[in-house]
């Protein structure tokens, strides 16, 4: 089961590696990202960021969905990561057992962001991304924004409301 699906444009990094895996008590991390699955250099940096004792799997989004639906993983707490909202939506629509979706850091590295909308200090949404986020918020899974565990969970629906 997915203990948390996190959208983070940096995938695994300091906040995620040390802070969140501890907080969520997840022995396994799955990075669901088409680019990372095809890029050895990205894979290497992600492995480096993985804390000792945690298992890491890097797969493209479609293969990751198969991993999440694998019966062997039913009792394993998995921390899943995507670097954009569209990928998270695809996973949420195709995987049953997800405890919560944390839209944490989005858009900081998007080059073509002239028409981006800012939902919070770390959420910059392109129109496509915003459409995916709205769809995500209608699913029957808690969707929230929480950068580090010390921050309060802000429901995405309230950020969307404020942005209008």
């Amino acid at each position: 089961m997915i203990a948390q699906l996190r959208v983070d444009d940096r995938l695994i990094h300091g906040q995620v590696a040390l802070v969140w895996t501890k907080e969520l008590n997840t022995p396994g991390i799955v990075v669901a990202n088409d680019n990372a699955a095809n890029n050895e250099m990205v894979q290497m940096t992600l492995k480096m960021a993985t804390p000792t004792g945690k298992k890491l799997l890097i797969r493209n989004v479609d293969d990751a969905i198969k991993v999440f639906n694998n019966p062997k993983g039913a009792n394993m707490r998995i921390f899943a990561l995507t670097n954009n909202v569209q990928d998270a939506l695809k996973i949420a629509e195709n995987v049953k057992d997800i405890e919560g979706i944390n839209v944490a850091n989005v858009g900081r590295f998007t080059k073509d962001a002239d028409d981006a909308i800012q939902l919070s200090s770390t959420l910059m949404m392109t129109p496509d991304e915003l459409a995916a986020l709205k769809k995500l918020a209608t699913l029957d899974i808690p969707v929230f924004h929480q950068i580090v565990p010390n921050n309060a969970k802000t429901p995405i629906s309230s950020l969307l409301k404020d942005a209008k």
Partner: protein, 139 residues
């Protein structure tokens, strides 16, 4: 959570605090001393920490043998359960800050071993990298 003081020559200590805030949101949980950025005496801040910190506490300093480290050692000399860790880096401070086990000398030593600077070798080809499998993952 362990009470922590970070002391350095210049803004290294408050710089580490800024990094801790970004990474953990817990920057305000540590005390810092940026020594020699003005001509004030920073000894009272060390005394204040030692007086108020719950035990065991940790004081991190930037440089072994440096004057900041010397001052800390003199102030903490007659104290029980204050650990002084020098040659500090971000990794060791985060480890102690996020740790949930009781802080013993042995445990602190383990955290320090895991937080060393290292020389990274970048693998030149896929052969150098182990490919992880789904079966390994679910084992």
């Amino acid at each position: 959570m362990t009470d922590i003081l970070i002391a350095s020559h210049g803004h290294f200590a408050s710089g580490l605090q800024s990094s801790l805030e970004i990474l953990t949101g817990m920057g305000n949980k540590v005390k810092v001393i940026d020594a020699y950025v003005d001509d004030s005496d920073y000894t009272p801040q060390i005394e204040e920490f030692i007086k108020s910190a719950k035990r065991p506490a940790v004081i991190f300093t930037d440089l072994k043998g440096g004057s900041v480290n010397q001052k800390v050692m003199l102030e903490a000399a007659d104290q029980k359960d204050i650990f002084i860790v020098t040659q500090m880096n971000l990794a060791i401070i985060m480890s102690v800050l996020l740790d949930s086990e009781p802080l013993t000398k042995e445990h602190l030593q383990d955290l320090i071993v895991q937080s060393q600077v290292e020389l990274l070798e970048i693998p030149q080809s896929q052969q150098d990298q182990e490919k992880e499998t789904v079966n390994d993952f679910f084992e």
